[in-house]
């Protein structure tokens, strides 16, 4: 191995080490629990089903080291490293392939590797680094064509990979636009080979057959089972998301052109937070260098960048006022391919500067600066180890486990929204913890349409829950075996017949007509039983600014108020704790009063400590504007 290769190897090894030691120990928040469960069970997660990711996840779950959650997270590390290698390779190919090009390429790799969002997505169980890898492969096909001329093999290869992108994340398929623009330079050959290209595209697309084959089987986990053409289209085109479906979303790019202003503004904000404003001059210089090198190359790279930055932002990220949720769910995830292209252009800009040193005969500077330039982005490691180091983040696992442990045998546990449901699916279906619990998930606060993946097979559970499967929920509440994270309000159908009372981290449901005189005694008795399982340490030591982790910890504070209430004495000073829980576009505020004295003041301290440690503005991308919100 020559010294250049060795240095690249050391750089990639350093990046891998930081990623691996930053992985969450069991599962990551958000989609993590669901994707791990679907991978383990060879099932189908939320639309569009992500068959390629799930099958790779199953492969990784066989590794005999660590736990299943941790192993599936490794996919992100792998594809992150492959993406970084492609970034290196492309920057190197674009330049004169000399010593300076080599250092410029490594510098751009380090900038990307330790940028906030790329780092964040490289250590969680999600498909965004796999998607970035596929986009970079297609990008390489385009670069190769622009540099070396038309080759039908590249056209077939790109078609095949384009087909594969539709089994990963649909945004990967957007590479068809820049590739089509490039193909116009070679339109005769391109159209001549189009029929065979289409065949290769179909071969790549056929990975989606997975959805049907696993859909018609009784599997461990299927979010929506694909059993026919109609259900395939529902899942594949994400029809269940309404205006967020693939077709409606794409259409939105061509209406309301004023939205492009906000798309640009919001995307620029992400660039500033991920790469700082200092990166922009290098980006501009990179564009100049590419324009000088080849017009075809320039237009291909510019179109690719536009599609994955401003156009994608117009489709998904063009709101006038962004909130933390938008930034976390969209801004922090969707733009990885554009960041990779941004760093490739930066790498070209850096190389452009080095080549100017050559022209100006600044030989000593030319030798020293490239090495020093590598050290600056390396400093970002310390930022990432303070804001995204998830090695100690047991919150999504322990929080869910504590909820399960707090429930009486054979209880119903109802969740709302992705975060609680996905973690519960992991714990119940992969971890097989407390299998006596029937977990049901609500997708819409205003309905009673449940997803019953956490309560299967029905035949077995119907014998343990004859009340629930017989439709007598009230009887189950009489037996004090119906719990939920949902505080009922007039918007929920159950509100007419059932009251909800805080119970540890959750709520217990009780029929409105029941005699509740014994409830206080029941509550105190249960809280005292649960108290030994209380684990506040994880919410005070997770070391990450992950939004969903912060939310879970804030949610958990309700449990400490409940504990304080259970241990209150008549001599205590009454304090009102104002709680607010959001269910989609609806927020349910409620108050809990507790008398605080020396008997229970430790719970007040825990409450305050968790609130302080988990302030939402800790999220790096939230920025000052959002802090006010």
């Amino acid at each position: 191995m020559d010294s250049k290769k060795l240095f690249l190897f050391i750089t990639l090894s350093l990046i891998v080490s930081v990623y691996i030691f930053s992985l969450p120990p069991v599962l990551s928040t958000g989609d993590g629990g669901e994707l791990i469960t679907a991978s383990y069970g060879l099932g189908t997660p939320h639309p569009s089903g992500y068959p390629l990711y799930v099958q790779l996840g199953k492969l990784f779950s066989f590794l005999p080291i660590g736990n299943i959650g941790n192993r599936v997270e490794l996919i992100s590390v792998f594809f992150s490293i492959f993406t970084l290698f492609l970034v290196y390779f492309i920057v190197f190919k674009l330049s004169e392939q000399n010593r300076e090009a080599y250092f410029a390429a490594i510098t751009s790799v380090i900038i990307l590797a330790f940028s906030y969002s790329f780092f964040g997505q490289s250590i969680v169980a999600k498909f965004y680094t796999l998607n970035s890898f596929l986009v970079m492969l297609l990008f390489l096909c385009g670069v190769n064509t622009a540099l070396n001329g038309y080759d039908r093999k590249i056209q077939f290869l790109a078609s095949f990979i384009l087909g594969i992108t539709l089994s990963a994340h649909h945004t990967g398929f957007m590479m068809i636009v820049p590739l089509f623009v490039l193909s116009l330079f070679y339109f005769r050959n391109f159209f001549k080979n189009l029929p065979l290209s289409f065949l290769f595209f179909l071969l790549g697309f056929s990975i989606n057959l997975y959805l049907y084959i696993r859909g018609i089987k009784e599997t461990l986990f299927n979010m929506i089972a694909v059993t026919d053409w109609s259900s395939f289209l529902t899942v594949f085109l994400r029809k269940s998301y309404g205006s967020g479906s693939s077709i409606d979303l794409t259409t939105s790019g061509f209406i309301n052109f004023y939205g492009y202003f906000y798309a640009f503004k919001n995307y620029f904000y992400l660039i500033e937070k991920n790469f700082t404003l200092f990166s922009i001059p290098f980006f501009v210089l990179g564009l100049i260098w590419l324009f000088k090198k080849s017009k075809k190359l320039f237009w291909f790279i510019l179109t690719s960048f536009f599609i994955y930055s401003i156009f994608l932002a117009k489709l998904t990220f063009s709101l006038q006022n962004l909130d933390i949720h938008d930034i976390y769910v969209i801004g922090h995830q969707y733009f990885l391919p554009s960041f990779a292209i941004y760093c490739i252009v930066i790498g070209s800009g850096i190389y452009f500067i080095y080549s100017m040193f050559e022209r100006l005969n600044l030989h000593l500077i030319k030798k020293i600066i490239p090495i020093i330039a590598i050290l600056f982005p390396l400093l970002m490691i310390f930022d990432r180890l303070t804001d995204q180091y998830q090695h100690k983040n047991y919150v999504p696992y322990s929080y869910t486990k504590e909820i399960f442990s707090s429930l009486p045998i054979a209880s119903i546990y109802m969740t709302y929204g992705d975060n609680h449901a996905f973690q519960a699916w992991y714990l119940k279906l992969v971890g097989r913890y407390r299998e006596d619990i029937c977990h049901i998930a609500l997708d819409d606060y205003k309905t009673m349409l449940w997803a019953l993946q956490g309560c299967k097979p029905y035949k077995l559970y119907s014998e343990l829950f004859p009340e629930f499967f017989g439709g007598d929920l009230i009887d189950l509440t009489r037996k004090k075996r119906y719990y939920s994270i949902i505080a009922l309000s007039e918007k929920h159908p159950l509100y007419r017949v059932v009251d909800s009372y805080p119970y540890f981290y959750t709520f217990i449901y009780m029929g409105k007509s029941f005699d509740k005189r014994d409830f206080d005694e029941f509550f105190r008795e249960r809280m005292k039983k649960i108290e030994p399982f209380v684990n506040y340490e994880d919410c005070l030591s997770h070391g990450t600014d992950d939004v969903f982790t912060l939310l879970l910890c804030n949610f958990s504070t309700m449990g400490y108020v409940n504990m304080a209430k259970a241990y209150e004495t008549s001599s205590g000073k009454e304090i009102t704790f104002e709680q607010k829980i959001s269910y989609g576009d609806f927020t349910a505020p409620f108050n809990i009063n507790a008398k605080i004295s020396s008997e229970n003041e430790k719970y007040l301290y825990i409450y305050n400590a968790i609130k302080k440690y988990n302030k939402m503005n800790k999220f790096y991308l939230s920025g000052k504007e959002n802090e006010k919100n």
Binding site: G66, I409, R478
Partner: protein
């Protein structure tokens, strides 16, 4: 391929190192604490960082089992046994490590759950229902709906192989002039492994 293998081995080596350090730290934390619930939690985390042949695996299991036996409160006892069972299922790979431990604790879990259901004063169960409830719990504990390991592996390797054979067809077969040898090998491999992929997915 060589580069990919090197990257793969670096990642696995680092992953093992991290798991080993985590195991070591949690075992030492578990030994230090007087709180049995916390000890169970630490042992569980050591077990979740499973490495084959590591002495800490057995130590963690023993540590949890000892605590489980000493718990007087049935909810804590259940928590303890359930924690061990769950941790063992989470370290499942192409085989299930410590299968016998799972087999031994499942009847204990079913027994505790049944007793608790009967003792839960809001239910209408009596001792007469013991066997019926116990059987329900045992049936749920024994039920395993995870896909077949062997067919899952066959199916995924077939997927990777047929993707590889399409690459072979394109890169080696579509030279000018066409390389018929590679086209034929690629096509045969594609048909064979594509079929195996479909069959594997269905059977798994």
């Amino acid at each position: 391929m060589k580069k990919i293998s090197i990257i793969f081995f670096v990642i696995i080596f680092l992953f093992c190192t991290k798991a080993f350090i985590t195991q070591k730290n949690f075992i030492s934390e578990a030994k230090k604490t007087d709180n049995s619930i916390k000890a169970v939690k630490y042992y569980e985390r050591a077990l979740l960082s499973y490495i084959p042949l590591s002495p800490y695996n057995k130590e963690a299991i023993q540590g949890i089992l000892e605590r489980c036996e000493n718990f007087k409160d049935t909810e804590q006892k259940l928590y303890c046994y359930e924690t061990l069972r769950s941790a063992l299922y989470q370290i499942r790979n192409f085989y299930q490590p410590y299968k016998d431990e799972i087999k031994n604790i499942e009847p204990l879990i079913a027994e505790i759950k049944t007793k608790q259901m009967i003792q839960w004063k809001y239910n209408n169960f009596s001792e007469k229902d013991y066997q019926r409830l116990y059987d329900y719990h045992m049936e749920i504990l024994k039920y395993d709906s995870s896909p077949s390991g062997l067919w899952s592996i066959i199916s995924i390797f077939s997927l990777l192989t047929w993707i590889g054979s399409v690459f072979l067809i394109i890169i080696k077969g579509f030279n000018t002039p066409l390389n018929k040898k590679y086209l034929l090998i690629g096509f045969v491999c594609f048909v064979l492994f594509f079929s195996l992929w479909i069959i594997g997915l269905y059977i798994a």
